[in-house]
Structures are given as structure tokens and as C-alpha cells.
């Protein structure tokens, strides 16, 4: 079905746009057929109404004959044939109405006939414009769609990044453990594999239940726990009501990874990462608020490429939620806190 017919508001806009077009046609009939405005309006009303729908028909022809790929000869022939047939139809409706109204307006039929040549040219022109408009709209739609596809591909690529530093350091831990504690070495291999596999799988999806994202975060922390030992401490406090919330995939785990990389790893004595999630319901809607807090050393050497991960997450949130989602950062004296706020749909 035509997109204008799918939505009553769009349809209303389209019909409103036809008021001036109809007025022009009435004017043409008035000037070239010497019909009074009243006569011209009465004669043209049904024709204009039908014409408004006729001008939606190029949608189907344009879709089956794309400008880029259809042979120009066929393109021209098809549109011309449609234009002639449909315009004649509109003219005939006018003629039919004029005949019907001959009783009320004497001689209106003959005067309408004298207006036909000019009217036909105008009707054809309007129909040609409708074709052009449809091609323009289709072109815009396809370029928008390819833009969205390109952005989706980019987002997927951004999500799929596994931090090489993390990977090689984990492999180094495994290498150390093979002689010190072979059982733990094997365990670490399995933890790392679990994390990588799950991260690849979830990266394919756009949103996932929070519970799955938290499970992934746990797998990541299990690996880091081996590397950092008691330098890394985790306190997690997530409302049970949150766990079914749908969240964008791979947003929380990278935030926790940042807390480890830029926070805990740069503290000589290590520290505690506090992860908390609450589900809020207000009159304006429900939202999920997730905070990750870690200590940091303000005098630590630069860990490089700061903020790239955050910017990446911000872009992903913006493309999905617009301004409804927020990522707030509070860096106090020695404590760094990231707050993620996501709007949630509530099932009634």
C-alpha cells in the first residue's frame, strides 16, 4: 500500500495539498471555458478528488521501474501510457459531471469542452510532477536506508572490538600459571574462551536482557580476577526488577572494563568497583539507572586513548535512544562514577 494511505495524518496532509491544486484547475476551466467559478467548482470537484488518488498511482509504476536500472525506452513508454490513460480518465469524469449538471447550469457541457485542450495539458503536467515527486521520495528513502545500514554495520564493528591489551595480558597470565598452577591455567583458558565466545555472540544482537549483559560482565571480571588477584574487588547490587530490562548489547561490560583499565589497574594497592542498578518508575515513564564507581589515581600516568570507548558508547546510545538515554560522568577527588540512564518501555 502507498505510504500516504497508511497513515491518516499523512493522508490528511496530502488532501489539504490538493485544495490549491484543485483551485488552479477550477481557475483554468473558468478562464478557458468561460464557466463561472461556481460552475467550474461544481464540475471539477469529483474530477479533482479522483485526480488526488490518481496522482498516488505513480508509486507502483516508479517502484517497478527504478530510474537507475530500468531501460529508458520502457520507462518513457510506460509512464507516457499511464499518463495519457489516467489523464483522459480524469477529463472524462469532468465531462460526465458537466453532462449531469447541464440541467442546473445551461450550456455548461459545451463550455467545458472548449476548456478541455488547456485543461488536458495542465492535468498531464500535474501528473508528470507526481511521477517526479515519487522518484525523488523513493531516492531519498533508499539513501536513508543505506545510511542506516552503514551505521548499523559501523555499530556492529564498534561493538566487536576486544581490547588487545586485555587479551594479551590474559594470555600472559595463563602462560605464568602453566607451571605455577596448571589447573588454574586451564580454568583461566576456559574463562577467557567463555568471555570471548559470549561477547562475539551478544555483539551480533542489538539489545539483550540486562541479565545477559551482567553475565558477560561477570565472565570478564572472572578473567581479570586471576590477573589482579585481591587488587580487584567487586561489589554488585542490582535490583531484581532490572534483570529483564532490554539494554543495548555490550554497553555495561565495556564500562566495567574501563573501570578496571583506567581505575584499578593504575592503583598500586588496587580497589573496589561498585556496580549498582535500579529500576525507576515515574509519571513520565520508567527508566533503568546503572552506576559503576571505581577509585582512580588522579596522578596516574596516561593510559592512552582515553575516552574513545566512552564516545563510542555515547554514539551508540544516541543512535538508538536519541536524547532519552544519558551517560553521565562524575570524577571526584579519587572516585570516578559513570551513570547510565536508559528509558524503558513498561508493559501495561
Amino acid at each position: 500500500m502507498h505510504p500516504i494511505l497508511q497513515d491518516w495524518r499523512r493522508f490528511a496532509t496530502w488532501m489539504t495539498a490538493w485544495i490549491p491544486v484543485g483551485a488552479i484547475l477550477v481557475l483554468v476551466v473558468h478562464l478557458s471555458g468561460r464557466l463561472s467559478y461556481l460552475e467550474a467548482s461544481a464540475v471539477m470537484a469529483p474530477a479533482v478528488l479522483v485526480f488526488a488518488f490518481v496522482c498516488l498511482s505513480p508509486f507502483y509504476v516508479c517502484r517497478s521501474l527504478p530510474l537507475r536500472s530500468a531501460p529508458p525506452g520502457r520507462l518513457f513508454a510506460n509512464h507516457l501510457a499511464a499518463a495519457v490513460v489516467l489523464s483522459s480518465g480524469v477529463m472524462l469524469i469532468g465531462r460526465f459531471t458537466a453532462t449531469m449538471l447541464a440541467g442546473a447550469f445551461p450550456g455548461v457541457e459545451q463550455r467545458y469542452s472548449s476548456a478541455v485542450p488547456v485543461l488536458a495539458v495542465i492535468v498531464l503536467l500535474i501528473y508528470e510532477m507526481a511521477i517526479a515527486l515519487h522518484y525523488a521520495a523513493l531516492e531519498m528513502e533508499s539513501s536513508k536506508r543505506s545510511e542506516i545500514l552503514a551505521r548499523d554495520a559501523q555499530l556492529k564493528a564498534l561493538k566487536a572490538q576486544v581490547n588487545p591489551h586485555f587479551l594479551f595480558n590474559s594470555l600472559n597470565s595463563i602462560s605464568a600459571l602453566t607451571t605455577i598452577d596448571p589447573a588454574l591455567a586451564r580454568d583461566m583458558c576456559i574463562r577467557l574462551a567463555d568471555f570471548l565466545r559470549t561477547s562475539l555472540r551478544l555483539g551480533e544482537r542489538i539489545t539483550i536482557p540486562l541479565a545477559e549483559e551482567l553475565a558477560l560482565t561477570r565472565m570478564y571480571l572472572d578473567v581479570e580476577q586471576v590477573r589482579f588477584g585481591n587488587k580487584l574487588r567487586i561489589v554488585q547490587n542490582v535490583d531484581a526488577a532490572c534483570t529483564h530490562c532490554e539494554v543495548p548489547a555490550l554497553v555495561i561490560q565495556p564500562l566495567v572494563e574501563n573501570a578496571v583499565k583506567h581505575g584499578i589497574a593504575m592503583m598500586a594497592e588496587g580497589g573496589e568497583i561498585a556496580i549498582a542498578g535500579i529500576f525507576h518508575r515515574t509519571h513520565s515513564g520508567a527508566f533503568l539507572q546503572f552506576t559503576i564507581r571505581n577509585p582512580f589515581d588522579p596522578e596516574a600516568p596516561s593510559t592512552g586513548r582515553n575516552g574513545l570507548g566512552l564516545r563510542n558508547i555515547r554514539e551508540r546510545l544516541e543512535s538508538r535512544y536519541g536524547t532519552a538515554a544519558r551517560l553521565d560522568i562524575q570524577a571526584e577527588d579519587r572516585s570516578y562514577q559513570v551513570t547510565l540512564t536508559l528509558p524503558m518501555r513498561v508493559s501495561k
Binding site: H165, N169, N172, A176, A268, S302, G304, R305
Partner: protein, 249 residues
């Protein structure tokens, strides 16, 4: 001769694998193990080792900053997991490096190079240039580390007022204090963000935010008056650079 070694890595397991490998080498003696940059500087200055195994990313000071702060440059072997720019820098400076995880054979070949280096008494490359080369393009120094007696003082780049060349040293002025560092003013200039620090004169590098005004002095020289009243000479070229940066804003 037994080689005395210091290793610095913040991860316990990383130190343990290195210790295990080095214990198989009869001529190596580990004199200190450090878990952060401060400890490393202290241990190196105290024990004067022949070789340092240095992790690049550590708490307190990174591996390059440690090198800037130690007196007796020994042979250095950097140990890192992954850092494309650092690896390029190591290649250029012909300093050996190990990529985690590494095999014991790879460590042995690094030790061979260390022994050759010590026999030939070749000096190690300039640590400032090494750090500069290891930085990603567009990444500038965010802090300057200086020795303050036995301690280490860290000056965030934004708190540096100006630097003045004094022979082989630069005198750094920050928050009312003066610090001396063995480094050329040109290498400091290269490391700092050129939009924030201007070399207004052959001997002076100034933080743009500290300049209150610039007065004409003679026909071809000017004087920059800083917020605290300090007067810094400005050359013709320095004045041009200042106009370019301030005008561009």
C-alpha cells in the same frame, strides 16, 4: 660476571613468569622486583642494576617515565602486552622488547643482546626521544615527572607556567616552585601540545594561558608578562607564533 637485574611489572603473575625464566639463567641475579613506577625508580637508583625489565603500563609512573628518572642508564628490555606506537619506538631506538606472553627462548635472545650491549658499553637511547616516539600522533604529554631529591614530583602540563633552558637542563616553573630536569627545551617543546605551549624565545617555552599581555620592548623584541608578573623575553619568531595561536582562537 653476574648480571644484576631489576624487574618492574604491576601484575604478580607477570613477575612470576619472568622470575621463573630468569632463574634458569645462571648469570642473572634479580636484585629487585617492583610493582609500580615509584618503586622501580627507587630500586634502580639504589641497586644500580645492569639490566632492567620494564613494563610499559604501570601505576604511578609508566616505563618511559621511570627511564627519565633513573641516574645510571643500564640496558633496558621493555615488556608490554600490546602497544603499536611503543613497539615502533622500541624498533627505532634499538632497545629490545618482549611481547607478552613470550617464550623463554625469546627472553634468552634479549639477554644475548643485553650482554653484547654491556660489553660494548653502548649507551641506551635518550629516554625523552623514546617516549616521544612511543606516543600516538596527536597525543601530547599530559604531565612532566621530575626528581625531587629521593622523591618523584609530578607536574600536570596545565600547571606548568613556563620552562627555561639552562645548559643541559630545563628549569620548570609551576605553582610558585622551581624544578630542574635534565632535558633539552626542544625535546620538551616537541612533547607538549603546541596549541598550549609556545616557544616564545630560544630559551623560553611558555604556557599560553599564563600570558597576561605582550609588551613591545625594542624594535624587534617583545616581553611577555605572565599572570604572576614574571617577564619573559619574546623573539620576533616567538611573537609570530603567539599571534598565530591567539589569532586562530
Amino acid at each position: 660476571m653476574k648480571l644484576r637485574a631489576v624487574m618492574a611489572d604491576d601484575e604478580d603473575l607477570a613477575r612470576r613468569v619472568m622470575r621463573e625464566y630468569l632463574s634458569q639463567e645462571p648469570d642473572i641475579e634479580i636484585v629487585a622486583e617492583c610493582a609500580n613506577g615509584f618503586e622501580a625508580v627507587k630500586a634502580i637508583n639504589e641497586t644500580k642494576p645492569n639490566v632492567i625489565f620494564l613494563d610499559v603500563q604501570m601505576p604511578k609512573l609508566d616505563g618511559f617515565e621511570v627511564l627519565e628518572l633513573v641516574d645510571s642508564p643500564s640496558a633496558v628490555v621493555f615488556v608490554t602486552a600490546f602497544d603499536q606506537y611503543a613497539m615502533r619506538a622500541f624498533d627505532a631506538a634499538a632497545v629490545d622488547y618482549l611481547l607478552k606472553p613470550f617464550a623463554v627462548e625469546r627472553l634468552r635472545s634479549a639477554l644475548d643482546r643485553v650482554r653484547a650491549r654491556i660489553r660494548e658499553a653502548r649507551p641506551i637511547g635518550n629516554p625523552h626521544e623514546l617516549k616521544q616516539a612511543a606516543r600516538a600522533p596527536g597525543d601530547y604529554l599530559e604531565r612532566i615527572v621530575v626528581k625531587d631529591g629521593p622523591r618523584v614530583h609530578v607536574i600536570p602540563a596545565g600547571r606548568l607556567d613556563y620552562a627555561e633552558a639552562q645548559d643541559d637542563y630545563v628549569a620548570l616553573r609551576s605553582e610558585g616552585g622551581n624544578w630542574l630536569k635534565q632535558q633539552t627545551i626542544s625535546s620538551l617543546e616537541d612533547a607538549l601540545d603546541p596549541r598550549r605551549f609556545i616557544r616564545v624565545h630560544r630559551s623560553f617555552l611558555v604556557n599560553v594561558e599564563r600570558i597576561a599581555r605582550i609588551d613591545a620592548n625594542t624594535k624587534d623584541t617583545w616581553v611577555a608578562v605572565l599572570n604572576d608578573g614574571t617577564r619573559v623575553p619574546v623573539s620576533r619568531a616567538g611573537y609570530g607564533k603567539f599571534r598565530e595561536i591567539v589569532g586562530a582562537e
